[in-house]
């Protein structure tokens, strides 16, 4: 008789934690450990005579005493708590040392308590960002913030035209963000043409240049040919070979060979195997947005003159990606969900913490980010939210390090969007409390 216990699981290894009720507690784990440390610190500072704060050794002793009370058995958690508490006390000490000569100590104490209140409040909100049973969904922060962002960066819609409209509307303010979420920083791991024909990768720098070339060629020197789906109409088209002409030593060979797949993602198609022209559905969208101008020729045919903007084709790529969100590449899913998680997290912090809050850096620290954001990314992928394949979110520590380090290269436009999220969150909170 074997004593080996048989597993009752039927799922594959690595596919264990896929339910909402599995992921949410993991998201809450570290937040639940941060909050008591800040609350406890707040209580200790509030009870402490202000003059005693001038002696930083007292704070060291308090922290040492607090460390002793640590009864957590999980090593990772106790290490994290110790690191977190040390950071909090160090920041408080630095603040006191820096301002003790210019600000009365009683005011310093009040500032610290206020900053701690704000921080606990932010953690409280992050803790109650959603419900364990997803009840009353429309009234949760996670849901409304994902929808707020989704509407601007990755909207849903019954058809491509609706999605394109929504994106174009938001593009005036957030085009750089829209472009950013397509440009995964791990593009070098992807191929333009995947054996899985349906899979959509992000836009690599070279593909982005090719899209720019196509835009310029359509605007500058289009050919006009028969419109297959419309009688007496002429469609603008450009020579495929012209797009790739500038590339020395065939350095865009991969892209040239995958032109069919690439063209489909930007709303184009191949005609007669040598031309690139807008596909039938895209023509309607282009006309609606003034990107194609219908001009009647002397012979009665209608010629469609292109007048593209920089974003015309890039936004189509995004709309196409959004519509086929079930078929995105692993890199793109990780990139999009990471950006959403990052924006929501930073938006909440922006709303709850004043700019001068001394604990801001702890929240922004990568060590904190990597404990919170991976699970937030997975929550955001659930069907009620972005509806992406969360099984493609990578779990390896190395990959997390890799992806979160790119947070450092955020663009200015993302910062503007974070401000917007903060304003929207506050507004939602007020309405919620009414």
């Amino acid at each position: 008789m074997s004593y080996k216990k048989k597993s009752t699981r039927t799922t594959k290894a690595g596919r264990k934690r896929e339910k909402w009720t599995d992921i949410l507690p993991r998201y809450l784990t570290f937040i639940s450990h941060m909050r008591p440390i800040l609350r406890e610190t707040r209580r200790i500072i509030a009870d402490l005579d202000a003059d005693l704060l001038l002696d930083t050794e007292i704070l060291d002793n308090i922290r040492a005493e607090e460390e002793k009370r640590n009864i957590r058995k999980v090593r990772a958690l106790s290490e994290f708590s110790a690191m977190y508490r040390t950071n909090v006390y160090e920041i408080i000490k630095d603040f006191i040392v820096k301002y003790r000569d210019s600000i009365p100590i009683i005011d310093i104490k009040d500032y610290i308590i206020d900053f701690l209140y704000e921080s606990v409040d932010a953690l409280n909100l992050l803790r109650h960002i959603t419900n364990p049973d997803e009840s009353n969904l429309e009234n949760t922060y996670l849901y409304v913030l994902v929808k707020f962002l989704e509407d601007k960066l990755f909207p849903r819609g019954a058809n491509l035209s609706i999605i394109y409209d929504k994106l174009l509307k938001a593009s005036n303010e957030f085009y750089e963000c829209q472009r950013h979420i397509l440009q995964s920083h791990t593009y070098y791991r992807e191929k333009v043409h995947n054996p899985d024909l349906f899979q959509i990768p992000g836009i690599s720098p070279k593909v982005y240049q090719i899209i720019n070339n196509i835009t310029s060629l359509f605007n500058l020197d289009p050919n006009f040919g028969e419109y297959p789906e419309r009688e007496s109409a002429e469609l603008p088209m450009i020579l495929k070979s012209e797009v790739f002409l500038p590339y020395v030593d065939s350095i865009a060979n991969a892209e040239e060979e995958s032109i069919d797949a690439l063209a489909e993602r930007i709303g184009l198609r191949q005609l007669n195997e040598i031309f690139l022209a807008p596909n039938h559905d895209f023509v309607e969208i282009l006309i609606n947005h003034n990107f194609l101008n219908e001009i009647k020729q002397q012979d009665g045919t209608i010629r469609l003159f292109p007048q593209f903007s920089n974003e015309t084709l890039v936004i189509y790529y995004l709309a196409f990606t959004s519509q086929r969100r079930g078929f995105l590449s692993k890199e793109l899913i990780n990139w999009i969900s990471m950006n959403f998680a990052f924006l929501i997290y930073m938006g909440i912090l922006k709303w709850k913490l004043s700019d001068e809050n001394i604990f801001y850096n702890i929240f922004k620290d990568l060590q904190t980010n990597e404990k919170v954001l991976p699970y937030l990314m997975k929550l955001i992928c659930f069907p009620n939210y972005l509806g992406l394949d969360k099984m493609k979110i990578r779990d390896s520590i190395q990959y997390r390090k890799e992806i979160f380090n790119f947070i450092g290269s955020t663009i200015d436009n993302l910062k503007e969007l974070i401000e917007e999220i903060a304003i929207y969150s506050e507004k939602f909170d007020k309405e919620r409390k009414k």
């Binding site: 630095d94 720019n212 310029s216 605007n219 590339y247 593209f308 903007s309 190395q398 890799e402 450092g408």
Partner: protein
Amino acid sequence: MTEFQDNIWRELLRNFEGGIENSIEKLKNRDIENIPGAKDALIQRLENIKTYFPRKNGELFKQSIDDKIQNNFFPNTKNFTEAFSQILNSRTHEQDFVINELLNGFVTSKAKAIALGTQGPVIDRMVEAFSKRNDFHIVDYQFYAMFGDPNKPKHYITKQLEELINMFGLISKQLVVEKDIRKSERKIYTFYTFPNDIIKILEKKYLIIDEELGYAYVSDAFDRNVFICMFLANLAIYRDDIEKIGGAYTINGICAIFALILLLSFLPKLSVDESNPILNDPGFDQNRMSVIPKSWMMNQVLESLFEPLIKIVAYRLGGGLWLSKIIDSEVNKKIMTQIRFLLKDVNKWILGNLCRVEIPIFVEIANIFTEVLVGYEEE
């Protein structure tokens, strides 16, 4: 300038005049403009350029390239700190696009000395590593930990960190720990930071020094482009060592982008009709953008303009050495073709109109042209 150099310079100016004549000819034969008067305005401007540029031994070129373009993006100095400081000062949101494109935007570039491939992520990590600490240092182990196990760093990471440290001239200090906590082994940690003169440049905007606490931490403005500026500064100071900066392709790429900047600065601004839909486009900002004639982008027009202009830029930037590296072959035509598609964030399409964003470098060069024109008229 020696007599020989003088002859080369005169020859380059003559070729440029010939190129312009050619372009004007081509322009007269075709019209792809949709804005009334655009073609005429462009012809008029090219005529002006033809008349005034070669005057006084190409004074306009010298001022635009030597004073403006080089000072902003490619300082003519052997001093790294000075070059870095000048490039860093020319940073604006849009000029960052130019700086980035100078390094990794040129589609044919096969150069190895620039921020391509795996060096990009390594730079991102360096930004994070500096942001993490409050002493403006990075530590080798901490840095390796950003990529995986710090005790077994990947070969390419150690190699690239070393290369970047040498290129940026970072200075190092070592800390020897006789027994580390992990395995009670002897460990040597290396701390890297910038030399003092670079720190001075970074102070205030990029680096906040808290003298009271003895901390130095980076501000939100400290980003990967600070390092990208260093790359560019490095190319600028080693311009005479062609192999070191990536070979002929780097030179061709840099000269092509500068030639594009030069031409964009001189292009006429068009007044569009009140009914033109571009005026209602939310992406068009009349205060900081201007429509430029579309026919300027025609291959036939640009080809004859760019070839002599790229050579002029090459000669001013790197003398005969750079001039000799300008590729004169079929590849050249490909390079010319792709120049049209560069700098699309500052030379963008809005509803089929080519719009120039008025970034400082365009304004500065355009001002030189205006001043010189006024001067000649007064004479």
